[in-house]
């Protein structure tokens, strides 16, 4: 164990104050905190709660239904990150649709869609664009390169989201946030600093190694004891104050803000991104004139409450019984970043 880990560990284990609730916004943090055994270091007075930072988990059921409609009714080939394939839609998942003949391909990067489109000019490829600031630039690059190359058989189904308005919506859910480091690597720190200065929302930017997570928690605990709103960047080897300017410019060139539905949080104004008019041609909803789709999730599934930190996954009566990784009922059990998946894997 490094000196820094020892120091941070001493701060964490030595805490003896009032109850603190710290939200790990990012699903990767949830999993790494479990995997690294960090929860076992925490005194009883510190509670870690999971937040809505898993893009697969907050994507509404209707989005899956739209993708299935595109695949089964319009015959397109769906390209997607693997996480989405088993997320239940209203009637079935993409995996279920594949068993009915839908063409669904897993890609590592949205840019892989371009290669597929070039190699198969008679086929139309739709990339399922979910994700926050971290993955939005890859989707933007894909449509920009498609346009530049004159590729007419590529489009995206967009459900990209941005975090600032979600943080504001979550105000009061926790005493402090562990901000997702790679979101800030793109967006910079201005929003989080403003949240502290203007809204009284405290948080620290957190990396993903044991040292980084312990350090962020230790800084958080120290500053919470001072009783003033704060912001700190505890991931400076990756996150700069200004973020990635090239990525910000690319997003501004290709997309524009829109209202967006978050599973569990409902509609949050200005929290989504959609292609702007210059890239309309690559918007699968417009290209295939999709109707408005209202998805329906299992009424007993409590993913929404989990995503807001209102309950722990184990408080849901489906957890570990009707809902498990082999037969997931809610998105939080499917995704590798989902809180229910983490609790099932590490804490049963």
């Amino acid at each position: 164990m490094s000196d820094a880990q020892l120091s941070a560990k001493q701060i964490i284990q030595g805490y003896d104050g009032p109850r603190l609730r710290i939200m790990e916004v990012c699903g990767t943090h949830t999993h790494e905190i479990f995997r690294l055994g960090i929860r076992s270091l925490l005194p009883d007075s510190i509670e870690l709660i999971s937040g809505p930072g898993c893009p697969v988990c907050v994507t509404p059921v209707g989005f899956i239904d739209e993708a299935i409609m595109l695949a089964l009714e319009h015959g397109v080939t769906i390209c997607t990150f693997g996480d989405l394939i088993r997320v239940p839609g209203t009637e079935m998942s993409l995996a279920g649709a594949r068993s009915q003949g839908a063409k669904v391909r897993t890609v590592y990067s949205p840019l892989d869609t371009l290669e597929l489109a070039e190699q198969n000019p008679d086929e139309h490829f739709v990339f399922l664009a979910v994700g926050f600031e971290t993955t939005v630039p890859a989707a933007c690059l894909t449509v920009k390169k498609a346009k530049a190359a004159g590729l007419d058989n590529v489009s995206i189904l967009c459900a990209n989201k941005t975090m600032p308005n979600a943080y504001a919506a979550l105000k009061g859910s926790a005493d402090a946030f562990l901000y997702p480091g790679h979101v800030n690597a793109i967006a910079g720190n201005a929003t989080c600093r403003d949240l502290a200065e203007k809204e009284g929302v405290s948080g620290v930017v957190c990396g993903f190694t044991a040292d980084e997570i312990l350090t962020a928690l230790a800084v958080c605990i120290q500053l919470l004891q001072e009783g003033k709103p704060f912001f700190r960047n505890c991931y400076p080897r990756v996150v700069t104050d200004e973020g990635n300017k090239n990525a910000q410019a690319l997003i501004a060139e290709v997309m524009e803000p829109c209202d967006s539905e978050w599973r569990g949080l409902g509609m949050i104004p200005g929290s989504g991104l959609t292609l702007n008019s210059a890239y309309d041609h690559f918007d699968a909803r417009k290209r295939f004139q999709l109707p408005k789709v209202e998805g329906r999730s299992n009424p007993h599934c409590r993913c929404g409450d989990v995503l807001q930190g209102k309950i722990k996954p184990s408080d849901c009566k489906l957890f570990g019984t009707a809902c498990n990784p082999q037969h997931p009922v809610g998105a939080c059990m499917v995704s590798g970043e989902g809180a229910c998946s983490a609790y099932y894997q590490y804490s049963r």
């Binding site: 990067s109 971290t134 993955t135 790679h182 993903f208 190694t209 040292d211 001072e226 505890c234 090239n246």
Partner: protein, 84 residues
Amino acid sequence: MNMCVGISGKVVKASGDTVVIDVSGATRQVSADLLSDLEPGDYVMVHAGVAIAKITDTDAHEASQVLAAEQMQSAAEPELAAVV
């Protein structure tokens, strides 16, 4: 692979808008569209096939520096500010 997992790697070849990175011995070509002037020997964080940030090679010194800066800052001026 999970869409949210960032991969850090060392640039071993740079050519135009792509670079080849080495991740524990495995190599992969990724987009360098978002970063300027990447050169062999640089370390980058990659998300969904796109290099999003130039980084240091390890977190070996980061944690101790953050904690030290925090202690200094708390002693000097416990006001809103980033540690870097």
